[in-house]
Every structure is written in structure tokens, then in C-alpha cells.
């Protein structure tokens, strides 16, 4: 390579490496804020490295798996409550896991199932019987990266029925 090209390559490489390092630092500094949601354990115990904890009354997003058997729906209205626990691989639910209850009124997304990932947006409150909970104004389903045909899913024992709504539940909407 002739010296002029070498010099230009050196300049370009230095600028790129410099920019890379700078943006690396910026992203590292912002890493807590880029997360879309808090996990249930982060709400109860604080973030892992900073100990940052959301306060009561703060508006936050929570993300976790719907604990099987915890979904309670009011037969008369669209009110629903369910517990969320951390997303872990492999998926196991223990009663001792940190859990946060979510209260919501409205139609749940199609992919809402027990054991499915959910992101809810709402205010953190303290309910006497259940402890920390979220009064959600929006519930979004988080789909995982696994795709499979129905026959395979049934063979693996995956539940996949949707939550239906009765006419009575929908009439007060």
C-alpha cells in the first residue's frame, strides 16, 4: 500500500475505533435506562448491579411470565388479575420466587396464556393482601422465539387455547 493510502486508512480506522469506544461507554452508562421493563425480582429486590428500585406510585413497565393458576377473572366484567414471575430458562415456577400481581381491566392480547411472557404498563402500588402490585393500563404479550406446528406443540404438552369472553363480560365495556 502506498503511504498516502496507509495514512487515510489509519485516519479512518482511528475515527471508527474512537467512535466505537465512545458509543460503547454511552450505551454502558445508559444500559439501565434502555431496558424496556423491570422484572418482578427487580421490583421487589432492586436491580442487580445498582440496587435501583422503583418507588410506590411510580409509573413503570413490568415484564415476566404469567404464573399458571394465578389468573383470576371477574365473570361479570373485564377485570382480571394475575401474578408475574421472572423469565428464566428452563421455565420453572416455585412459590418462593419473587412475584408481583397485576390488576387490569380490558381485553387481553391474543397471545395471553398462563406461562406466557407479558409486558404490562402501569402504576406500582401496595395492596395489603398480595404485596407489591401493578395497576396496569396496558397489557402486551411478549412472544418467545420458538415457532412450532400445533401437532408438535401438543406432543410437547404445550397449552395453546385462547381466553374467550362471554357476552356478559363484554357488555359493560
Amino acid at each position: 500500500m502506498n503511504p498516502r493510502r496507509k495514512k487515510r486508512l489509519a485516519i479512518v480506522a482511528t475515527i471508527l475505533i474512537g467512535l466505537g469506544v465512545v458509543s460503547g461507554f454511552v450505551l454502558y452508562a445508559l444500559s439501565q435506562n434502555i431496558d424496556l421493563f423491570f422484572t418482578p425480582s427487580e421490583i421487589t429486590q432492586g436491580k442487580k448491579d445498582t440496587g435501583l428500585k422503583p418507588s410506590i406510585g411510580q409509573r413503570i413497565r413490568i415484564g415476566g411470565l404469567v404464573v399458571p393458576g394465578s389468573v383470576k377473572r371477574d365473570p361479570e366484567s373485564l377485570k382480571v388479575s394475575f401474578k408475574l414471575s421472572d423469565m428464566t430458562m428452563p421455565i420453572v415456577f416455585n412459590d418462593s420466587d419473587p412475584m408481583v400481581t397485576v390488576y387490569y381491566e380490558g381485553i387481553l392480547p391474543d397471545l395471553f396464556r398462563e406461562g406466557q411472557g407479558i409486558v404490562a404498563n402501569g402504576t406500582l402500588t401496595e395492596h395489603p393482601p398480595t404485596g407489591l402490585s401493578i395497576e396496569a393500563s396496558e397489557v402486551l404479550a411478549k412472544h418467545d422465539e420458538n415457532y412450532m406446528p400445533a401437532e408438535l406443540a401438543e406432543a410437547a404438552g404445550q397449552k395453546h387455547e385462547k381466553a374467550g369472553y362471554s357476552a356478559k363480560q363484554l357488555e359493560n365495556k
Binding site: L16, L27, S31, L111, D144, A150
Partner: protein
């Protein structure tokens, strides 16, 4: 080592090379896309939770990975043009930018169309979606810079610098789902080890992916050819070419 590439620094040689390449690329793209899309949209089994909505995957994922792949090739061209001052590298970067922008837009639009029924929202400002939107703006900036200067060399230089600075966004898009928690799911196909998809769903995807990549190749070749002609319009070989076409 790179000696075999030297003749292609000449625009005329490269023009004739793209001419020879085009029919092959077009035929292969048509073949792979027709097999892949028919297989994916009609014969692949529906997903156990999402039903038929998951089929948007076969357009969304190739579009999204190509939007990043085309950007990386554009950045390599920009580097060659800045360091070795190859005029053709500028022309190829200018040819690639709108194609990449189109694939980015397709990825964003198909993603939103899938997100509404599945997640319950068209858009959310999570790391993956936001960084992909930034990629679209980078492409638009590069296109604007290529057209902002009368002098094509100056335009190439300005656009090249923006392209190289924007490369930082590519690993951020790719790893956003691993570094931060996002609503967007992790990667299905490019996972080390085995992909999280059953094989009768994966095969049509491979055909679709190769098909869309070839389609991108065809469009870029066509645009590259036009760029070469437009930038060399005063050269005798272009004039001869035009006279032959008119005769």
C-alpha cells in the same frame, strides 16, 4: 492476492460484468422466491399459538437481515472509496442505499402489522425497534447526501463518512435483544446450535431468505449499471453503446 479484482476498477469492464451477471441472478431469484414463497405461504404448517399470522416471518426476517447486510456491504464500499479512492465503490454505495432503505421499511411495516394482533400494539420504543428505525434514518441520510452535491466525488465522500459512522448501529440492532430486555423476541434462526423452529417451517424460510437476497442482488446490479452509465456519460464507450442501441 487482490490482483484478480484490478480489471474491475475500469467502469467499462464492470459494466459488461454486471450485464453478464444479471440474467443468472434474475433466474435464480425467480426460482428461489417462487419455491420459497409458495411453500411458506401455502404448505408450511401454521404455528401452534399464532396460527397463520406467523407467516409474516418469511418476509419480515429476510427483510430485516438484508437491511443490515446491505448496510455492511455499503460500509465496506464506503471504506474502499475513502481509502483507495475508487470511483466505482462510490457508485456501488449509491446503488445500494435505496435498496437497503426499502428492506428496512419492509421490516418495520411487516413487524408493526404482526405486532398489533400478537403483542397488542403497533409500535413500542424498545431497543430493537428503535435501533432499526435509526437504521432507516441512516439510509435516508446517506441517500440525501449522495444527491446533495453536484460533484459526485464530494457526495461520495460525505455519504461514505456518514455510512461508516452509522456502522456502530449494526451490532446494536443485532444484539439489542440479548443486551437489554425488549418486547421483541430473540433471534430464531441465527442462534448458535439449533434454531428454535421445527424443520418443516425452517426449510421454506431458507428458500425465502436466499430468494430475497438474490432479489436484492438483482435490483442492486440494475441500479449499479445505471450509476456507471450516468457517471461516465461523456466517455466514448458509453456513447458507442448508446449509438448501437439507437441504430
Amino acid at each position: 492476492m487482490w490482483k484478480f479484482l484490478h480489471p474491475y476498477a475500469n467502469p467499462e469492464t464492470t459494466y459488461h460484468f454486471t450485464n453478464k451477471l444479471l440474467p443468472w441472478l434474475t433466474a435464480l431469484a425467480a426460482l428461489f422466491l417462487s419455491i420459497g414463497l409458495v411453500w411458506a405461504l401455502l404448505f408450511a404448517p401454521a404455528d401452534y399459538q399464532q396460527g397463520d399470522s406467523f407467516r409474516i416471518f418469511y418476509v419480515h426476517v429476510p427483510a430485516a437481515s438484508l437491511s443490515m447486510g446491505i448496510y455492511v456491504s455499503m460500509a465496506i464500499a464506503a471504506l474502499c472509496s475513502l481509502v483507495w479512492q475508487l470511483k466505482l465503490a462510490d457508485a456501488s454505495a449509491a446503488a445500494m442505499a435505496p435498496v437497503g432503505a426499502a428492506f428496512t421499511a419492509i421490516a418495520l411495516i411487516t413487524g408493526a402489522a404482526w405486532g398489533k394482533p400478537m403483542w397488542g400494539t403497533w409500535w413500542i420504543w424498545d431497543a430493537r425497534l428503535t435501533s432499526e428505525l435509526i437504521l432507516l434514518f441512516l439510509y435516508l441520510g446517506v441517500i440525501a447526501l449522495h444527491n446533495a452535491f453536484e460533484d459526485k466525488n464530494l457526495a461520495g465522500k460525505a455519504a461514505g463518512i456518514l455510512t461508516l459512522v452509522g456502522v456502530i448501529n449494526i451490532p446494536i440492532i443485532k444484539y439489542s435483544v440479548d443486551w437489554w430486555n425488549t418486547l421483541h423476541q430473540g433471534s430464531t434462526v441465527s442462534k448458535l446450535g439449533k434454531p428454535s423452529m421445527s424443520l418443516d417451517m425452517l426449510w421454506p424460510f431458507i428458500f425465502c431468505f436466499i430468494g430475497f437476497a438474490l432479489l436484492a442482488g438483482v435490483i442492486i446490479c440494475l441500479r449499479f449499471r445505471n450509476e456507471i452509465l450516468a457517471r461516465n456519460s461523456i466517455r466514448p464507450w458509453v456513447r458507442q453503446l448508446v449509438e448501437k442501441q439507437l441504430a
